[in-house]
């Protein structure tokens, strides 16, 4: 093989890169497209072979059926109520802790507190599920929205505390000190200086908690079961058993559960890495 000039080599490498990236994009997006495609097909078209690459007679009947006959609206509403309450609660409670961790901690003590806030996050959910079920059963909170709200708030708290701490730490202490030297109370300096500066962080943190909580399935499956309290993932999973070969409806339920979350995730892209590692990598 003749020695390649450096320009040819560079061009070759560019070509390989383009091909690999296009391949990665196809592998990533095709399965998602296939779900959307299936959700818009009629039951007859779903079963045609070879499968059609786009719906020939696109229909919304799968979506309509889900809401009219399969309580998808109720599940969706439960999810909104449960996730909304849990995220709001954990954001309020967790931000207080985060502020304290970011501003008052002496280095050594702070490391210790860090550990105790972080440690629960490291406990695999499966280790908690049996006692959680038994406790909530005794409290009469099985298949109640409140039960799941409490559980999700607790799960979100360590995350909110650590993530908000890393945002608070980025706000220079000097700004706050200056305000307090000028006679502002700490509360006022928090309200007028820290919170506005931390608001992008607050938004990112709440969207993150929202994504994780909205997608949670394991605890929701065990703690809720009927349209009175069950969340969208539980309702969707239950649908699989009920619809059997109604793949169109199954796909439509998937689309309903996925679309809002994908949009949210794209909105917080900039903070995605920090969120995924709870502030360990920025």
């Amino acid at each position: 093989m003749p020695r390649l000039t450096s320009t040819t080599r560079r061009r070759l490498w560019l070509g390989v890169r383009v091909i690999l990236i296009v391949l990665a994009l196809i592998i990533t997006l095709l399965p998602v497209y296939w779900m959307v495609n299936t959700s818009l097909k009629t039951q007859v078209e779903v079963f045609t072979s070879p499968p059609t690459l786009w719906p020939e007679n696109p229909t919304l009947s799968n979506y309509i059926n889900l809401f009219v006959r399969r309580h998808l609206g109720a599940y969706l509403l439960n999810s909104v109520v449960i996730v909304g309450s849990a995220v709001a609660l954990s954001l309020i409670i967790g931000s207080l802790a985060a502020y304290s961790l970011a501003r008052f901690g002496k280095a050594r003590l702070q490391e210790k507190v860090n550990f105790w806030v972080l440690a629960p996050r490291m406990i695999p959910p499966v280790a908690l599920v049996v006692p959680m079920f038994l406790i909530l059963q005794q409290l009469g909170l099985i298949n109640k929205k409140l039960g799941l709200i409490l559980v999700y708030t607790a799960f979100n708290l360590p995350f909110v505390a650590l993530m908000m701490r890393s945002f608070f730490q980025e706000i220079p202490v000097d700004l706050e000190e200056a305000a307090m030297v000028d006679g502002a109370s700490r509360l006022r300096s928090i309200r007028e200086i820290v919170l506005p500066l931390a608001s992008p962080g607050l938004v990112a943190t709440s969207i993150f908690s929202l994504i994780v909580t909205f997608n949670e399935f394991f605890f929701a499956l065990i703690l809720t079961s009927t349209p009175a309290a069950a969340t969208l993932p539980v309702g969707t999973a239950a649908l699989i058993g009920k619809t059997q070969t109604l793949y169109g409806e199954m796909a439509a339920a998937g689309v309903v559960a996925a679309v809002p979350l994908v949009i949210f995730a794209l909105l917080v892209q900039r903070h995605l890495v920090r969120g995924l590692t709870m502030g360990a990598v920025k």
Binding site: F47, R103, V117, L128, M180, Y247, L261
Partner: protein, 294 residues
């Protein structure tokens, strides 16, 4: 580390920091540490649904180490964790290296690549059910066109687990990609420029410069992924329910079935405690191994 706030008088008598921390600590303690203790207590009990629990000492744990099903579920979980995490790391690193330099449409490409991990695992299960399914699946259609035989991936004892691993790889490679890309892009440029001036090959730069400098990010990424993969549940529940037979019965699924299908809460709790100990042991081992091999 950020500077601490110095104002506010005598700090030893200032209770504000603790007041702010208290609700979080109490709430998290009540909802995690307390149940964890309860879990340990339950694991020493025989506790069938609707009956009073009876203390049985170490009986549950003795049964556990002789339970072939539990041991095989551990093995399945381990295979799943190692294969999935390993593949995700290699593919994620490859993608990160491909996309680290400026590239047309970089933003859109990056956004597209991270879509899978924003989708709920249950929905990911649905997506792959539609692909794997024997009557309508795109996958099955392709396989049939190629081999002439109809294949049902998820009901094959040999293919079901690799199929589930593939689903996990599809969903979580973006995570590795994103973390490693962020890591690579935040590395200081000087050592690389110096190496290039010295005429080091791209491969040598990668092996002796990029990889060692990336180590902290790699540890975090591997740890988070391995911990999650070890307790995988959602996709398995949606796709195979542990079948065919027990071919894909991962540990979390077994705890779920033991507690909520067979109502043996004591035995399920002992499994959960055993898993917790294993998880803590492995994460400590991984962290230490990586710190030691600098």
């Amino acid at each position: 580390m950020a500077r601490t706030l110095g104002l506010g008088g005598d700090r030893r008598r200032n209770s504000l920091p603790w007041l702010l921390l208290a609700p979080t600590v109490l709430f998290v303690g009540a909802m995690t540490i307390l149940p964890l203790g309860y879990s340990v207590v339950t694991s020493f009990q025989e506790f069938p649904l609707g009956q009073a629990p009876a203390f049985v000492g170490l009986q549950n744990y003795r049964n556990l180490i002789n339970d072939a099903n539990f041991l095989s579920s551990l093995e399945t979980t381990l295979v799943f964790t190692i294969a999935a995490t390993g593949l995700e790391f290699v593919l994620g690193l490859g993608l990160a290296l491909l996309l680290k330099q400026e590239f047309p449409f970089q933003g859109i490409i990056r956004s597209s690549l991270i879509i899978p991990m924003a989708i709920a695992p249950v929905v990911v299960g649905i997506i792959w059910r539609l692909l794997y399914n024997a009557d309508v699946g795109l996958f099955s259609f392709a396989a049939q066109a190629l081999t002439g035989r109809s294949v049902s991936v998820l009901s094959s004892a040999t293919m079901a687990l690799p199929a589930l691993i593939l689903v996990d790889v599809w969903e979580w490679t973006p995570f590795m990609f994103l973390l490693l890309l962020a890591g690579i892009q935040s590395l200081p440029q000087e050592p690389f420029e110096a190496a290039r001036v010295d005429g080091a090959s791209a491969w040598n730069i990668f092996l002796h410069l990029t990889m060692p400098m990336l180590r902290p990010v790699i540890v975090v990424a591997l740890l988070i992924r391995a911990l999650d993969a070890f307790t995988v549940f959602d996709q398995v529940f949606v796709l195979t329910q542990g079948g065919p037979g027990t071919a894909t019965e991962v540990a979390t699924l077994m705890v779920y079935k033991t507690a909520f299908r067979f109502s043996q809460f004591g035995y399920a709790a002992s499994m959960a405690v055993a898993l917790l100990v294993l998880v803590m042991f492995f994460s400590a081992a991984i962290t230490r191994a990586f710190r030691a091999s600098v």
